[in-house]
């Protein structure tokens, strides 16, 4: 379980995040929404301890962050960051195995367990035949799935995903969210997902957190948060709301 208590994060003397509190229980999937620059990525980077908080505290399973080493946090929290490219010829398998750094060892060769975890991750991301391909030969969407596979290979229970569907086609957007939700449904995992797709968030998330200018402007069940008033306030656009005929969940239509 991840608990965030009244945290502030600042760059220099400018507060980018103010007074953020939220709780991520096991089995839950939270979607983090907000306009560009609202502080979503900053929040995710604070939630795995890479960015220090200036006030407040973050606890994993009741224990505050500063009691964990970098490795220990990485064993519990895995990140799917926005893509970045490497100039070295790294294979998909090597890339995914890198996710085993925290739970495997800092030295030596990978163990049988490391390989098994990586292969399972590749299988669940629909990448079984890709293991010996080079990362720089893949399409953007394929790379994005490999990045997810690396996070799954860590076997960390808390997943933080920063726009995991940004480069994906329609089918893979759905299957990525379904995969994350299924993991959470087992109760062992939980996830915070940044996305710009309000409808995917409404469809899959248990809870939505709406960020505006570094503060939480609304949080709760999708149907409570995705209201015309909130969306006008956060995004400044007019929207129509109805129900998705297939699932009955909230559906957001932008009026241009």
């Amino acid at each position: 379980m991840l608990e965030v208590r009244d945290i502030f994060v600042s760059y220099g003397n400018r507060d980018v995040l103010r007074d953020i509190s939220l709780t991520l229980e096991g089995g839950k999937m939270i979607a983090l929404l907000g306009a560009n620059g609202a502080g979503k990525t900053t929040l995710v980077r604070a939630l795995n301890g890479i960015l220090p908080v200036s006030k407040g505290e973050i606890l994993i399973d009741g224990k505050p962050f500063h009691k964990f080493s970098r490795r220990e946090i990485a064993q519990k929290v895995a990140v799917v960051a926005q893509e970045n490219e490497t100039k070295f010829p790294v294979t998909v398998l090597e890339f995914v195995l890198a996710g085993r750094f925290a739970s495997g060892g800092a030295f030596g060769w990978e163990s049988e367990k490391d390989f098994t975890a990586s292969e399972n991750a590749l299988l669940s991301c629909d990448l079984a035949s890709f293991s010996d391909r080079f990362m720089n030969e893949l399409s953007g969407g394929e790379r994005q799935r490999v990045v997810l596979a690396r996070a799954l290979a860590t076997e960390a229970n808390i997943l933080l995903l920063d726009e995991p569907t940004a480069n994906l086609d329609l089918a893979h957007q759905g299957s990525m969210f379904r995969l994350i939700r299924e993991r959470c449904r087992t109760g062992k995992y939980s996830a915070i997902v940044i996305t710009h797709d309000l409808n995917l968030a409404a469809e899959f998330a248990d809870e939505i957190v709406l960020l505006k200018d570094g503060r939480i402007c609304a949080k709760g069940a999708p149907s409570d948060v995705l209201t015309v008033g909130n969306l006008v306030e956060v995004f400044g656009v007019r929207v129509l709301l109805d129900a998705n005929p297939a699932s009955g969940k909230v559906r957001v239509t932008t009026v241009y």
């Binding site: 064993q75 960051a81 070295f88 398998l93 800092a106 293991s131």
Partner: protein
């Protein structure tokens, strides 16, 4: 997960690969050392050495060959480590100005503490560290570090240090000047056994430190941010790699001047042959770097025999075109 659905399996038995190919490289190094010992302006055979030939072999040629091996290994390992750390296959001690920093340190030690031979590698290490720090600070920006910024920062530091070196050399008298210009280009002809011992010890320690960080470097090479996310203590790794690289470049330059491009060519070839895993790239670069410089120096000794070329001229002749090729492919 379903039983029987196998991921396309390319698991390599890494420790066996490391032993097999590492062993082959060691054999190649042994062959290169023997060939280098026998070739030269005076050709030697294994047997029937005259007194004079023995002196050539043990007092002149062997220290030079062994020093070449230690210098080559140090420079190649420093290059491999810096490339992964800076996420840039073009990073190289010579091109980043690290070698020039070490050269300036050596010269200052030579001028102010001439009687203490040991002051040269120490001051060279200091110069190399300062140059590394300067380039790193200049090249990094909030959005990370791109190829152009890094290469440009290297050029700036290199030229700045070169001008100071020119200033210092112009204050020296003419006889010293000639040996200095030769040495600046990378020259093994002044090899001593003491120089070799220092280079060997620092080279071995540096290679061990760098190899110990190889797994972390595999993550750093993919992305510094990602590496932190997945449990690498980025600052500690950076300090160890910069420290090891500066020490190795420092001692190498103090003993033999700026032998350029070794740190570019050797890791590149190793990656072509064995892939990008630093647990292989770093130790293999050490052996291959030794082979490369020993062979290059043999060419430098025999090409226009009885006169000699500085070994740095040979390595640059091979390295510069490779650099252009890599830059274009980038």
């Amino acid at each position: 997960m379903q039983e029987g659905v196998a991921v396309k399996n390319i698991r390599i038995n890494s420790s066996r690969t490391a032993l097999r190919y590492g062993g082959m490289l060691v054999l190649l190094l042994a062959a290169a050392l023997v060939a280098a010992a026998l070739l030269g302006s005076e050709k030697l055979s294994f047997f029937d050495l005259s007194e004079e030939q023995r002196a050539i072999l043990f007092d002149i040629r062997l220290p030079r060959i062994l020093l070449g091996a230690a210098v080559g290994a140090s420079l190649a390992v420093a290059g491999a480590g810096l490339q992964s750390l800076l996420r840039n296959p073009l990073a190289e001690p010579y091109l980043l100005g690290v070698s020039n920093g070490a050269a300036l340190g050596t010269m200052l030690a030579f001028i102010f503490f001439e009687q203490f031979e040991f002051s040269r590698p120490v001051m060279a290490f200091g110069g190399a560290s300062l140059a590394t720090f300067a380039v790193y600070q200049m090249a990094k920006s909030r959005s990370g570090m791109n190829v152009e910024r890094l290469v440009l920062s290297g050029v700036i530091v290199t030229t700045f240090l070169s001008s100071i070196i020119v200033l210092v050399t112009s204050l020296l008298d003419a006889t010293k000047l000639r040996s200095f210009t030769f040495w600046l280009l990378g020259d093994l002809s002044q090899a001593t056994l003491n120089g070799f011992y220092i280079s060997l010890i620092v080279g071995i320690i540096g290679t061990i430190v760098m190899t110990s960080q190889a797994k972390a470097l595999n993550l750093m090479m993919i992305g510094e941010r990602d590496a932190g996310d997945f449990g690498v203590e980025v600052k500690k790794v950076r300090l160890l790699v910069f420290g090891a690289a500066s020490a190795m470049v420092g001692t190498a330059v103090a003993a033999s001047g700026s032998v350029g491009y070794v740190g570019l060519i050797v890791p590149h070839l190793i990656r072509l042959a064995f892939g990008s895993d630093n647990r292989l790239v770093v130790p293999f670069s050490a052996i291959a770097g030794a082979i490369f410089v020993v062979l290059a120096d043999t060419v430098a000794r025999v090409a226009i025999s009885p006169r000699e070329l500085p070994v740095g001229a040979i390595t640059a002749l091979i390295g510069a075109p490779l650099f252009i090729y890599l830059l274009r492919r980038n």
